[in-house]
Symmetry: C2
Subunit: 490 residues, 2 copies
């Protein structure tokens, strides 16, 4: 009997306590290690040799980095991605996941699905790690693993030699040095942010129904405050009020009259949009119960925020989306900077001062010497830059200049030019804005209402990266339409 | 312009700092409070009056509690459920969520969807709280809210008076007093357990690919150990080896030869099943790479377990499923106990010593005086008991004996009789076991292989509570079939 055979096999290899801890895995030790076979050794990935494929190292797994990964040709390059996150977040749809319109999984795309070579090719890898230091002169990056506490395994450092390096480390939310934002507010940039918002929202809804709570507490708990009137803040407010209108009224009937959404903005909401669209958005949001407040946040406490005029706003949920700025690692880099503290690049998205290093996405901007404006921190820009650089690097590789320091003589061809295709924002309740003007001043099509909502959804569903997720997003939308949103708090 | 109107509306109510913190929500204060309207007041839910609906309080939201909630007639009773979890977990499919075959959401059913009255009827509630004490003589339960730390709101106590009380608090995993199990092993009973297992599994897969890791560490990290050869342990091992066979080999090609599953069981796996099925399962598991080890765990450390024979088993992931026992709250109750420390009930699932208190599910068992055997801690038993008690309580209510102390003279009718409909277990790779015998000794149909896998899936998809989740589970299964499992680590 298999079980007994197995057992006897085992009983033959009992050992005293102080023996090799791997006794239980006898046939492992005979295995050779693919990395060692490649002769790279364990301190890191050593410089590639002339006969090997050149190695592109991509730091970051956001829009820019992932679009680049997708476009790189694995027949030309070994591709290595370093990021603390093994998936790309489809940020435009993140707001929808907070209220259960979409599943979290539907807006997350694993790197391995974006660039399959990462998980298949012997020389291509994804490393779950932070980049700690860039040594551009030796063509090397220093990294440390992300391990979530030492119980599983203690973090360790390692190095990667690159032939081409692309810095796509993105940005971080700006807090303008306001006390308590990091501690008490929730941002809306990662899936775990959306999960935290969802858990807190549902927790507050349930707690406000429990006997023994005071009226004041109940009103505070169910007061959702959003700071920042950009697309993210507006979309989240819209989704939230939609959730309240459609789901809370049925499923939390006892507390439906207590829950409210306030959107605080220092200037105007959706300032980048056409005036008519802005007015339309303002009207729709107000109509769907979102209170728009113009104010400047001075201080954030655990249960209330204090505005610059001294007034206090108690809250149960605080979401912060007031734009982004460069992250510490970007600030620490000893490279020429563009306006706004971003990494300075030339027209080809190169960092001129060093060889073989490029930067794309929110973390980079054109050097003043290029005479070009800093591009907005938009997924659209990151996407376009990622695609451009992938094509450029493939071209360089094809020209035989993929290895380190060999691209000096190469003609890079057309520089990167950004053409704004327009902005979109949903404001909940089957309404959205579509602004197809080239810029704030120029003329162009500006749409609002259901038609544009339809355009908005179509546009996104076709851009969700994999077919799997397109399918899931579609299924989610249909399910929400038929069954309402999901309210299980897991 | 709406925005300006809104703004001016606001600017009229600016106040100095030391004012009523609710200034920002002026129109709230005019709202009356539904609970106060019902005259219940805030310290808790007071005893119902003769002209009001009687109140059934259900402690717990597991199989038993939820099946009961589903069956109770909201026209007869006000229904109150107290639990730290606002959803029911469809436990038989939980193992599938760890490896991404199913979404977590697909196996969680919100209470509000199981018994809509909870969220709609003025006198019916779900309270996110723990029961701290049962005062059977005053027909009252004492509870404390679950708030996840004081930042949102400090927890508070409250009381609920009941006309009928149902204790369905379930059980907790047994650790047999073994050191380190709680700290280092993961159980598989809640959605957050499955999430933890998934996160750890994917973390280990990714870390084992990073340069700088030693062979030993790599082998340890990718060694998944399951302790306990019951259906849960076997199903999880099966799913895991299936995941390794089908997905890891493609998506983590670099480490595919390092990952292994070991199932440790002190006696026989699936001891409740037919011998032939057990042999079949053993054969299939071994074939799909699961190593079956007969051993007794003596001690659990952060990175290795020590067996009673002194041998050490290093692990990266440790899942513990060795059966269940009564939880502390059950042990603390001053009520007659059944064998195994469960709450003792009579043939009608009543607790004889007190009025109007019933108990169902894993936490209860027949008193020895009834001469009946203790029923196994199975979803099947809980389900049947929940249904039986719902019918019984509805009957009592219809007979006008719903209020406290008014059911003394009522004829309860047929006692609860449990008829075992058979056991099912999947062993991964489209294979499952179906054992339709009444008991271990009796004759009956015993199936294994794809046919029974098909039966297994059909059986479960029809039992997943809501249509929404039936739909989702179906979609998940199809998607996994077409696109493979999801590997984003969120």
């Amino acid at each position: 009997m298999a079980w007994l055979r197995n057992l006897s096999k085992f009983s033959t290899i009992k050992r005293p306590k102080n023996t090799d801890p791997l006794w239980v895995l006898p046939r492992f030790t005979s295995l050779s290690n693919p990395i060692e076979e490649k002769g790279i050794g364990y301190s890191g990935l050593e410089a590639t040799r002339a006969h090997e494929k050149p190695r592109v190292v991509v730091l970051g797994s956001g829009w820019a980095g992932c679009r680049l990964l997708k476009g790189l040709d694995p027949h030309i390059y070994d591709i290595v991605c370093v990021s603390p996150r093994n998936h790309m977040v489809f940020t435009p749809l993140l707001a929808s996941t907070c209220v259960g319109t979409l599943e979290f999984r539907s807006v997350a795309e694993p790197i391995g699905r974006i660039q399959p070579a990462i998980s298949r090719e012997p020389g291509s890898y994804f490393f779950l790690a932070h980049c700690t230091h860039i040594d551009a002169h030796n063509h090397m990056v220093h990294c440390e693993t992300v391990t979530e506490g030492a119980e599983t395994i203690t973090p360790w450092k390692f190095t990667i030699s690159y032939d081409k390096l692309v810095i796509a480390l993105g940005s971080q939310p700006s807090t303008f040095g306001i006390q308590g934002v990091k501690e008490h507010a929730i941002f809306l940039r990662e899936v775990h942010h959306a999960q935290e918002i969802r858990r807190k929202l549902l927790l507050n809804l349930m707690l406000s129904d429990v006997p023994g709570i005071t009226e004041e507490e109940k009103q505070r708990l169910l007061h959702c405050v959003v700071v920042g009137g950009g697309p993210t803040g507006v979309e989240f407010s819209g989704e939230l009020s939609d959730f309240i209108m459609r789901d809370v009224r049925q499923r939390y009937a006892h507390v439906k009259d207590y829950i409210h959404v306030t959107l605080i903005e220092a200037n105007e909401i959706l300032s980048s949009f056409d005036d008519r669209l802005r007015r339309y958005a303002t009207k729709q949001l107000t109509k769907s119960g979102v209170r728009l407040v113009r104010g400047i946040v001075k201080d954030v406490k655990a249960q209330k925020i204090i505005l610059s005029d001294g007034s206090e706003v108690p809250y149960g949920l605080l979401v912060w989306s007031t734009g982004v700025g460069p992250s510490p690692i970007i600030q620490s880099l000893d490279l020429p900077k563009a306006p706004g503290g971003r990494i300075g690049v030339d027209e080809w998205l190169r960092i001129p001062s060093v060889q073989d290093v490029f930067s794309i996405g929110d973390c980079s901007g054109f050097l003043e010497s290029t005479g070009r404006p800093t591009l907005p921190a938009l997924a659209q820009v990151a996407d376009r830059q990622g695609k451009y650089l992938a094509d450029l690097l493939n071209k360089i590789g094809k020209a035989g200049a993929g290895h380190a320091n060999s691209a000096k003589e190469i003609e890079f061809g057309d520089p990167f030019v950004y053409k704004h295709l327009g902005s979109m924002a949903t404001i909940g309740r089957y309404k959205a804005l579509v602004d197809l003007r080239q810029g704030k001043e120029t003329k162009g099509l500006a749409l609002a209402g259901f038609l544009s909502f339809f355009i908005w959804r179509s546009a996104y569903i076709t851009r969700v990266v994999s077919w799997r997720n397109r399918f899931y997003v579609f299924v989610n939308w249909v399910t929400t339409l038929v069954f309402g949103r999901d309210i299980s708090r897991i």
